[in-house]
Symmetry: C2
Subunit: 129 residues, 2 copies
């Protein structure tokens, strides 16, 4: 996963941070992780790299509930998401929960689909109990 012509500490740190995520991420989260390897890193550079990676098709924007816009690597297997209303975490759910034989009404052509479950994650369910 390369972002552009020059290899800079910043880009390396950003790409490494993104590759380290297990699911979706926000620009702010990337900033936080990448700053460990690259302390002075600024948010503008994160946005620049994210835009490049989107243009390259390495990552894509995904929409999860009312939270801030998120991105996700495209080189991951098909999966869906669980959004915890309590802690805000977005967790990947393996596999696809759609009916195998589901068909859209005639005329509709879907290039992709998303399934988002909303509720309470195990961690928050425990702390509530």
């Amino acid at each position: 996963m390369s972002t552009a012509k020059r290899q800079t500490q910043q880009r390396t740190a950003i790409v490494t941070a993104i590759e380290g995520t297990d699911c979706t991420f926000t620009p702010q989260e990337v900033l936080g992780h990448a700053q460990r390897a690259c302390p002075g890193l600024g948010i503008a550079t994160v946005y620049r790299s994210i835009r490049e990676l989107v243009e390259q098709g390495c990552i894509q924007r995904v929409v999860v509930a009312g939270s801030a816009p998120r991105y996700e690597r495209t080189n991951v297997t098909h999966h869906h998401h669980f959004h915890c209303e309590s802690c805000g975490a977005v967790t990947p759910l393996e596999g696809c929960s759609l009916k195998e034989n589901y068909r859209l009404p005639s005329g509709f052509r879907a290039s992709s689909h998303d399934v988002i479950f909303t509720g309470t994650c195990p961690k928050c369910a425990d702390s509530e109990a």
Copy 2:
């Protein structure tokens, strides 16, 4: 569906406009429809009424792709959405396309779920051809 104490032309027009939608709507769309019955209507009043209706549980916020935030009546039968990348329209899809026997990993408790198909709607597919 009432919104508050006084019955005003504005609230009536807004509620009527919302009841007339077949699926999701944005504040701007409500403004446009309600202004037919109530010409001077301002966007602030639409936002005020929408907030009241959300607090009353009559409508809820839904998230559809990268489009502006949308709302939807809660008194509709369970369904999902198709988002046309070409024209931006959001169309309701009857029924539920999830596997009947689908179970979340242990520990997760979902209070709701959303399925969003993205692609081309019949209208746009026709005009492309």
